[in-house]
Symmetry: C2
Subunit: 410 residues, 2 copies
């Protein structure tokens, strides 16, 4: 995967602190890629609680099935991730691989295999050789350390052009806690979940059901608000681990007011990672933010925003730096949601190009075009029907997307 | 629009007969394009009955609004079409243009403006100057003739690379009737309706409500089974006109058994045109037929087939001649329809690549690849759940699609 780094990559990478109770190592197992790491083993101290959100695909991967079962108990001791092969649509062999790698990791960490969480990303339908992963575990287990996070993020990349990390701090009671997250994209990105793997770690002490509430809420306006191509992966996995090592009081009530700052920090980390996924959409040259307001509901605004964000004609117009608001009208119209053509207003950046169902009489093509030449495109649509509002994130559709996906497997 | 003719264009164009009661002329009004025709006027003899199907967009164009209203009376005396400007999202100006052009055409044909049907295709959101169309009407009205159909098809093209015509014959009672149809694509192609304009003419005598039944049924497996990019136009219009000039008995009961051959002929013409639309999808290099069988219902099969046909990852894999059935699994999974991963089987052409939820052990990569190198790709998916079956038509997603749509407006 020798694609140039996305021009939309963040200019700086945050300082990523250690998370007490979390140690990890990466390894090069040669699953598909040569000359790079492709396995990440994260060991978690005893007492770690876990929450997860997974793909809505009806054909989920074997690791997704595995994680869903393990999640019921709410406890985790490790997460083992590989890139290069998704272990999806691999039948009985795929299940055997999952069981073998969980057993292997359990042996090194010293826990029940059911406390091992697994994720795989890469090609679908090719058997994943458990042996390659098992072979690197002894050495990886001997090298566990509390950093650097950027290496963890690199090991899980597929067609990603840059590693994705984010961090935030919060207080619970009087105690500082930290959150560190990593994510990978970069194709098959569509909501429920946005296709990706992401793992967020904190030293807060939060009961698994509360953690699940927080995570399920956090994805709505972050990972589920991102689309690259409308294609939902078989393997989307977002896991949140809380080691409890901060010494902060354990929270076991979702209504506990001491969760406020943590909730905000978690929302910030997931939004940051989700936006990075859109910024690294395959072939992306422009980051696109679509805001719909005045819809009859939040859900209706989301469906319209997604209709716009997923429209190939809108996305190619953005790639061509064309302030083509006619295609926005088309995408609003096809969403099937309440919309009154004659109340519609549309902005590119700060320029209102359409109002009351027709071209804005004061519309400056020059101003709109200037906005389209930037690399952060903001499209705003006002429906004038109600209070529903939503923002989604995507990228443009370029020839590079076609090139990347026309020769990905071979 | 100087795009090379699609390599998927039909090798031969059928002999298109005259349709008694139908005369037409084309003109170059310079609406947007230079050096080509962009207006089509079709005059219909008195007594012509009409049926129509239109876009489901919530933001339809002014001509679509106009046609929907006129359709209620079931009578038509002319259809006036322009390419280069869709007269969509043009507010009060758009309505005025519709009224002015209908009045103008009515004056030349000698009928009520409500018996004039209108269609416009091209850029959205730019005012359409009625004067340019009115200026060419006198000359066009003086040149009305019963052929050649290929010129009618050319005048309505936008980014189409070849004109689309189809014809069929049938008997009603003992009398021969003829059907001639034209269509244009080639972007914003998605079902309900597949984005396009299409006009079908026959000399049969069929009551408007019966005609509507026939047309509504015909689109299900033809125009509504086609997708290029999942983007539904504001302007989709399919009109069926029956002049009654054949002398065949007039049919006013949809259950009349004498309709059998006509129904089959209409289905054949609409399917032929719809497939040509997919063959001329913007940037298309491969025609793709997606068949889903064993679904729980026809509707479920359709949704899964459309999920596959609209998937950018499937379409780019086809462009790359990659037998990437993992992406088929993904697209089946994301459709949200009942599917059992472990019963799924997938074929490319005659090669079964996956069975029982995993790679077919006898799978020949060479055979599958050979099929992918052709220009007619057949993808078959068996779900093993029920009797539901459907076929949809699409094309691959190429760099040329991005190029065409990145600089369409400017």
């Amino acid at each position: 995967m020798a694609h140039a780094v996305s021009p939309l990559a963040p200019k700086t990478v945050p300082e990523m602190p250690a998370v007490p109770g979390v140690r990890f190592a990466t390894a090069a197992a040669g699953i598909k890629y040569k000359g790079r790491t492709d396995v990440l083993l994260v060991a978690l101290d005893e007492g770690t609680e876990v929450a997860g959100v997974f793909t809505t695909s009806k054909c989920p991967s074997a690791p997704v099935d595995w994680c869903r079962r393990s999640l019921a108990q709410g406890r985790a001791r490790a997460v083992l991730v590989n890139s290069g092969n998704a272990n999806a649509f691999t039948g009985a062999k795929g299940v055997a691989t999952v069981e073998a790698t969980a057993a292997g990791a359990g042996a090194f960490v010293g826990c029940d295999p059911a406390e091992i969480f697994l994720a795989s990303t890469g090609v679908i339908g090719e058997p994943l050789d458990a042996g390659k992963i098992l072979a690197v575990l002894p050495d990886a287990a001997a090298r566990l350390a509390d950093g650097p996070w950027i290496e963890a993020a690199k090991a899980i990349m597929t067609t990603d052009t840059f590693p994705k990390v984010a961090t935030a701090r919060a207080q619970i009671g009087d105690t500082d806690v930290v959150l560190c997250g990593i994510a990978k994209g970069a194709g098959m990105i569509a909501p429920d979940m946005a296709t990706m793997l992401s793992f967020v770690f904190t030293d807060a002490a939060i009961a698994a059901p509360v953690l699940q509430d927080l995570l399920s809420a956090a994805v709505v306006d972050s990972f589920n608000a991102v689309t690259v191509d409308g294609d939902t992966s078989t393997s989307d996995t977002l896991l949140l681990f809380a080691t409890g090592k901060s010494g902060a009081p354990r929270i076991d009530d979702p209504a506990d007011p001491r969760l406020g700052a943590f909730r905000a920090a978690l929302d910030a980390v997931t939004l940051d990672l989700a936006r990075q996924v859109a910024r690294d959409g395959e072939g992306a040259r422009k980051f696109v933010e679509v805001t719909v307001e005045g819809a009859v509901s939040k859900a209706s605004a989301r469906r319209i925003a997604m209709s716009v964000a997923n429209s190939p004609l809108v996305k190619t117009a953005v790639a061509g730096e064309d302030a083509n608001w006619g295609r926005i009208v088309m995408a609003v119209g096809k969403a099937g949601e309440p919309a009154d053509r004659d109340r519609l207003a549309i902005w590119f950046g700060e320029t209102r190009v359409a109002v009351d169902g027709a071209r804005d009489p004061d519309y400056s093509e020059a101003a709109a075009s200037a906005h389209m030449q930037g690399d952060h495109i903001r499209i705003r649509i006002a429906l004038g029907l109600g209070e529903g509002r939503d923002t989604t994130y995507t990228c443009d559709l370029t020839k590079e997307y076609v090139a990347i996906n026309g020769d990905y497997r071979s």
